[in-house]
């Protein structure tokens, strides 16, 4: 093992020696720089590996040959090793990144970089209070130098403000240090910590406070961080990266040392400051449009989060708290560094202009990875850290902390994903080109890969759950590797993989899961068939797709809350990217993502509380929560969380846009298949928790109203749409309302109805979306009033739509009726008549949109432009035909699927089951024989048809204008096709249902947040003196706060 002191020595030696090599030229300078940084990285890596594998024990390194407290000593433990590795690596990569940009800066930049690195290493390793101060100063000064890399006025201003603030805080720190020395007689952190008896703490409080507040201000807490923001905004992106990854990391560790040294004196204080920073910065960032400053806001908020989490972890003695903090830290460091590097490549100030990234499309991968890692999504380390954290916090019942952390993360996701949307969807000006060098790409991809790679070890460190099943994730990663293949081959590979994985799953998995597994696996295979109609290699489609389906299968397979949540998030991410691919889907994908994330956070919190109550992470033991005081809360959270996925009313506003604007073959996936994940979750919740009450209010009762109103509003709005896919999307809202209602009945029949509805909804919604997708593919429009008369051009599609709307509306003899029959039996049995009536009413309203769909598209007048339109391509038709076969089979033999589902439901709700005698189903209220209905229908239909045909076989076929037009004739198909504002009278009567209450509500929240952001950010006046004012005020206020001075 190389002595850790070389981490400092190498850097400084190289820095000093560079002075001699001033004339040696650019190559030599950078060779020295990179070699020394690589050496340092290697040293710290060696230590890290050694320490974590246990081959070396932590080392305390005295300097000058004397033991502490006589001399300064350094320490190299696990944390130090890891953190030095982190900072050295990030500085190394940043230096690599800078090579091209700093060519003209002579030897100064490498020197400063080395000095900076030595400062970081020193801060991390030193155990001496004053030495810590010295290294912080080294870091600040080197940083201030690095800021002014271009020497323009903005950088000068930023550097000046930064130094000014640093000088002020360092003065305060010095006073604190000297008083602490006076109190404790030592400058060694460990000695001080040991010497601080309660009396001494009281006497030396002020000294400790000044040190503490000094380090805290170095961390740039809200609102005294204007100078820090300026640094992030103006500095070279590579410098931003080292500030974010290196300086923040080192300073955080310094903060941690100080806080530990002071005993528990300042934990509450730092929690408050951390929380305020985290939330405050995230909110203010909402208004930010400048990429680098946005990154600054995000960095500072993350630092706030880290401070908050670290203090919480210490305060509550959370077992693997250090690992949680490290997980968050490492994610933040690499993600932020990657983003800064990317911003250095893109060189666009405004986030709206980031569309240029698509000129180097592969850059989107690291970009997405970094953003997702920051938000804390799987499989990145932050995900596991967040998971562990919430588990622990929930176990300790820290409600406020959970709310703050999750709420803040949600706000953070807003601006981060908005940014991604801009990059993904905006187009750059024609004449701009993006040039990238290898030295720039290497760090970017290294960052991305590190984030992915670190996920696996992070998952192993979880204290609460056994490792998640990685197989699916591995396959998702594999799809990234085969991105270069043509789309058709990828389609085959992915389908084969899903079939290969899904078939044994279907045969082995039991219980209600098999229903959903069937929907997901079969659905995946069927809906992927249209993918064959794509040419090229469809970059990014297959990883997202596999991510979604892996997530879906993963939640089915999950045995533990953690793997459930892992795959749940993965599904969300995958589907987000899929939706984002649509043409106009930018805002909709964002709102989809946010709603899903919000829902997921509720689920996370619920799992946390459940863990806290039962200390078990198994999904099977979720039911144990039912007997604890948290049962209702857990149920509420889980329900709302899953309801965001089923898009129940109030939480539905993301759905129409997201489903409608997605690509043609994505819409059926997200609408026909993905929504069932929410139903699956709800069912799982209800099975585990049953009926819960909050006060006198029965949650299930409330949910039944939500379901009913979802059905009504969804169906009504569907009828009012002009866009075919939007219509179908709203229809999904309504249909999921039925399912929610059925589940909330908490009875055998209710669940049976909901489950059979899920199955049937899958079939017809996939058919409908594929049919409409095929039409849109041919017609290049989604507006129904621009279509018409397509029955002659697309007879197969028409047939598919006809069958599915009959199935959807529940008209016998097709399969949809079975679900309705069961559902009404359930309603009457339960006695929730009013909701039931609303459900019934919305069922009838469904006719409105179904008729509109089929009429305005297929019937009426064919338009000029569509006279040569061909039938939808085979890849679209094939799955429709397969599913129609399925629908017809289920319709003619409904007992073959209702009875087995009934058996499954019986396991949980044995009472009130149907009795089957052959195809005759009997509830205690009524009866229904699907096969007989089918026969009667067929018989009557055949007889009537025969009658008509015999009487009227010579009918003259005519064309579309051969209609009676009051002795006139139609002029144009466009003016003869009644389609626009189809249900005008209905709108006149019931238009109030269209009032976008939920939209206004959520808009109100976002508007408020944005307004708040706009107001708060006026704190950052740009005037250095104001910032100093704020710092002094901050010190005073925090001191008074801590001492109850207010």
């Amino acid at each position: 093992m190389v002595e850790p002191v070389y981490l400092i020595v190498v850097a400084l030696g190289a820095a000093f020696s560079l002075g001699l090599l001033r004339k040696a030229g650019f190559v030599m300078h950078h060779l020295v720089l990179l070699l020394s940084l690589a050496t340092m990285t290697a040293i710290s890596a060696q230590w890290t590996v050694g320490l974590f594998t246990g081959s070396v024990s932590p080392a305390a390194i005295p300097t000058a040959g004397f033991s502490p407290p006589i001399s300064i000593n350094l320490q190299m433990g696990k944390t130090e090793g890891f953190l030095t590795l982190l900072v050295n690596l990030s500085v190394f990569l940043s230096s690599l990144f800078m090579i091209k940009t700093v060519k003209r800066r002579s030897v100064y930049v490498p020197m400063l970089m080395l000095v900076f690195a030595s400062g970081l290493n020193g801060i991390i390793m030193t155990r001496d209070l004053f030495n810590l101060f010295v290294f912080i100063e080294i870091m600040s000064i080197a940083l201030a130098g690095l800021i002014v890399l271009n020497g323009d006025i903005q950088q000068l201003g930023a550097g000046f403000k930064y130094i000014l603030a640093g000088a002020l805080t360092s003065g305060l720190m010095l006073i604190g240090i000297i008083f602490t020395y006076h109190t404790t007689g030592s400058l060694n952190i460990d000695t001080i910590a040991n010497a601080l008896t309660p009396e001494l703490k009281a006497v030396g409080y002020a000294g400790l406070f000044l040190i503490f507040i000094g380090v805290l201000i170095e961390l740039k807490p809200f609102p005294v961080n204007g100078f820090g923001l300026d640094v992030y905004e103006s500095a070279h992106p590579a410098v931003g990266a080292v500030v974010s990854a290196g300086a923040a990391t080192a300073t955080l560790y310094a903060f941690a040392k100080i806080a530990i040294m002071s005993g528990d004196l300042f934990l509450e204080l730092s929690m408050v400051v951390g929380a305020v920073t985290f939330v405050g910065m995230n909110v203010v960032a909402l208004q930010q449009k400048i990429a680098n400053r946005l990154l600054g806001y995000s960095s500072l908020s993350q630092v706030g989060l880290l401070v908050l989490v670290w203090s919480l972890v210490k305060w509550q003695n959370i077992a693997n708290g250090d690992l949680i903090v490290l997980g968050l830290l490492v994610t933040h460091a690499f993600a932020k560094a990657t983003l800064f590097w990317l911003s250095g490549i893109i060189q666009k100030e405004k986030i709206e202009d980031w569309g240029i990234i698509k000129q180097r499309i592969y850059l989107l991968f690291p970009f997405a990875i970094a953003l997702l890692a920051l938000i804390g999504l799987p499989p990145f380390p932050s995900f596991f850290a967040k998971w562990e954290l919430i588990m622990a916090l929930a176990a300790n019942q820290s409600h406020l902390a959970i709310a703050l952390i999750l709420g803040g993360s949600l706000v953070e996701a807003v601006y981060l994903m908005r940014w991604f949307g801009h990059a993904f969807k905006n187009t750059a000006a024609e004449d701009e080109t993006l040039s990238v060098s290898f030295c720039q790409l290497l760090p970017v991809f290294a960052g991305g890969l590190l984030l992915i790679g670190l996920g696996y070890p992070a998952s192993l460190l979880s204290a609460t759950a056994s490792p998640i099943p990685w197989m699916l994730t591995a396959f998702v990663l594999f799809t990234f590797a085969m991105e270069f293949l043509p789309a058709k081959i990828k389609n085959i590979i992915v389908m084969a993989a899903i079939a290969w994985y899904g078939y044994p799953l279907l045969t082995t998995i039991g219980g209600y899961r098999v229903i959903f597994a069937g929907i997901f696996v079969i659905g995946a295979l069927v809906t992927m068939i249209p993918g064959f109609s794509h040419k090229g290699n469809r970059l990014g489609f297959y990883p997202s797709l596999t991510m979604m389906f892996a997530g879906l299968i993963g939640i089915i397979e999950a045995k533990e809350t953690m793997s459930f949540f892992f795959y749940w998030e993965m599904m969300t991410v995958g589907s987000y990217f899929l939706i984002l691919r649509g043409k106009n889907s930018k805002p909709h994908a964002l709102s989809y993502f946010l709603f899903s994330l919000g829902g997921a956070y509720l689920i996370l919190a619920a799992f946390g509380y459940s863990f806290g109550q039962t200390t078990s992470v198994s999904l099977d033991t979720l039911s144990q929560v039912a007997s604890t005081p948290y049962a209702a809360l857990v149920m509420l959270f889980l329900s709302i969380g899953f309801m965001t996925k089923t898009a129940s009313v109030g939480l539905h506003i993301w759905l129409p846009g997201a489903h409608a604007e997605a690509e043609s073959d994505v819409s059926p996936m997200v609408s026909g298949i993905l929504l069932k994940a929410g139903i699956f979750g709800l069912l799982m919740t209800f099975i585990a928790l049953g009926d819960q009450k909050i006060g006198f209010v029965d949650i299930a009762y409330v949910l039944s109203w939500v379901g009913a109103i979802s059905a009504l509003v969804g169906n009504y709005l569907a009828a009012m749409q002009e866009d075919a896919k939007r219509l179908l999307a709203y229809s999904s809202v309504g249909q999921m309302g039925y399912a929610l209602f059925g589940l909330s009945l908490m009875s055998h029949l209710g669940w049976l109805g909901a489950l059979s509805l899920s199955v049937i909804h899958f079939t017809y919604k996939v058919i409908l979306f594929l049919a409409v997708g095929g039409i849109v593919y041919r017609l290049k429009t989604k507006n129904m009033y621009e279509m018409g008369g397509l029955i002659r051009k697309m007879p197969i599609t028409f047939f598919a739509v006809l069958v599915s709307i009959i199935a959807l509306s529940g008209i016998p003899p097709l399969a949809g009726f079975g679900g309705r029959w069961v559902a009404y039996n359930a309603v009457i049995e339960k006695g929730w008549m009013l909701q039931g009536a609303i459900i019934g009413f919305s069922g009838i309203i469904a006719f409105l949109y179904l008729f509109r769909l089929i009429h305005t598209i297929f019937l009426g007048q064919l338009k000029d432009a569509h006279r040569k339109v061909k039938e939808a391509p085979l890849p679209f038709l094939l799955p429709q035909m397969l599913l129609i076969g399925l629908v017809m089979f289920l319709s003619s033999r409904p007992h073959t699927f209702l009875a087995p589902i009934g058996e499954i439901v019986k396991e949980f709700k044995p009472d009130g089951a149907l009795t089957w005698t052959g195809p005759l189903a009997q509830s205690h209220l009524g009866y229904w024989d699907g096969v007989m209905v089918m026969w009667v229908f067929m018989g009557l239909f055949a007889a009537n048809f025969a009658l008509l045909f015999i009487m009227n076989r010579r009918a003259q076929p005519v064309k579309q204008f051969n209609i009676v037009y009051a002795a006139e004739r139609p002029a144009r198909p466009e003016t003869t096709h009644f389609a626009y504002n189809f249900f005008a009278p209905y709108r006149r009567a019931l238009g109030f249902l269209e009032y976008p209450l939920a939209t206004h509500f959520f808009d109100g929240i976002t508007d408020f947040l944005h307004a708040a952001a706009g107001f708060i950010r006026r704190l950052y006046t740009g005037n250095g003196q104001t910032y100093l004012f704020q710092i002094v005020a901050f010190v005073v206020v925090v001191f008074l706060l801590a001492n109850g001075g207010f």
């Binding site: 002659r792 039996n825 009457i828 009278p985």
Partner: protein, 307 residues
């Protein structure tokens, strides 16, 4: 055997429906102090329509529209227990309960709408939107009323509901659950295509609505359905609210009861129809969702609280 019964049921009902149409035509005429048509006139009309020589066809769905329509109408009839206790008149009522009947009604509507739609005539589409809009609203009080009586009788089986009303006139739902009956009878008006709810057919504005392009045998089939569909609907109402028609000692008596009950229930819509002017669609939608719906809700509340 059931099939024979079913065919017979349909046949008898067609005749009954034709006679009823004649009578109603007469009533309308007499209200307007005219002498009016011959009672048997509907027979002539329908035969004449069936033997039209030429016809035109707008397409496959247009062709199938009347088939769907008639299948829907005939289906309801044979799924309904027309006469309680007589196997002859409830041939396929074992296929399903009230829910089946309620949902099966829409098959015809859908067929009509699709067929009219394919004719390419904008008036058909306009009429369908009006019809659908109005029907959806009219169904709401009906659903409430039905929920109310299903709660009351704890069954969805029409046979059992009829059985529960036997014994005395006071056992009729009309008297045991008057609110539900009123709500349902108001809803009944909305589905009978008579004034004030007949803007769907607005004879000159959108000539007779969805079937505006239908002619010859297609129209004949629709006219045939028109004879049975209202009767079937009326029978359902009679069964649910007015004690149904139970098989008596003599078939004659049974038919007299059957005739009287269905006639008077049917006449309810006629009487309202000749007395009131037309609603616009949005007005009728609002109307159904106010008073009748409120009555329906009250009916449910009364039943559930046992008042």
């Amino acid at each position: 055997m059931n099939i024979v019964y079913a065919v017979a049921t349909i046949f008898i009902t067609i005749n009954y429906g034709l006679v009823l149409q004649g009578i109603i035509g007469k009533v309308y005429a007499r209200v307007a102090t005219r002498i009016g048509l011959r009672i048997y006139q509907p027979y002539i009309n329908i035969i004449r329509q069936w033997v039209t020589r030429t016809s035109i066809n707008h397409g496959i769905m247009y062709y199938l529209g009347p088939v769907f329509r008639f299948t829907g109408g005939g289906g309801i009839l044979i799924f309904l227990p027309v006469i309680y206790g007589a196997p002859f008149f409830s041939s396929f009522s074992s296929a399903g309960d009230m829910l089946l009947i309620m949902y099966f009604m829409f098959l015809g509507t859908l067929g009509m709408a699709l067929g009219g739609g394919e004719s390419g005539h904008p008036y058909a589409a306009i009429a369908v939107t009006r019809g659908l809009a109005q029907t959806t609203a009219a169904e709401f009080p009906l659903i409430l009323a039905i929920f109310s009586i299903v709660t009351q009788y704890q069954t969805l089986d029409v046979n059992q509901i009829v059985a529960a009303q036997q014994g005395s006139v006071l056992n009729w739902t009309l008297f045991t659950n008057p609110l539900a009956t009123i709500a349902a009878m108001l809803a009944f008006l909305g589905s009978m295509m008579r004034s004030p709810f007949d803007v769907v057919l607005a004879p000159q504005e959108i000539p007779i609505g969805p079937p505006t392009e239908y002619q010859s045998q297609f129209l004949a089939m629709l006219m045939t359905n028109r004879t049975i569909f209202p009767v079937a609907k009326t029978i359902l109402y009679v069964n649910l609210f007015f004690g149904g028609v139970a098989l008596q000692d003599s078939w004659l008596l049974t038919f007299v009861i059957f005739f009287l009950k269905t006639f008077f229930v049917y006449m309810w819509s006629v009487f309202v129809g000749v007395s009131f002017p037309r609603f616009r669609v949005d007005q009728s939608v609002r109307w159904f969702l106010k008073a009748p719906a409120a009555l329906g809700v009250l009916a449910i509340i009364f039943v559930q609280t046992g008042m």
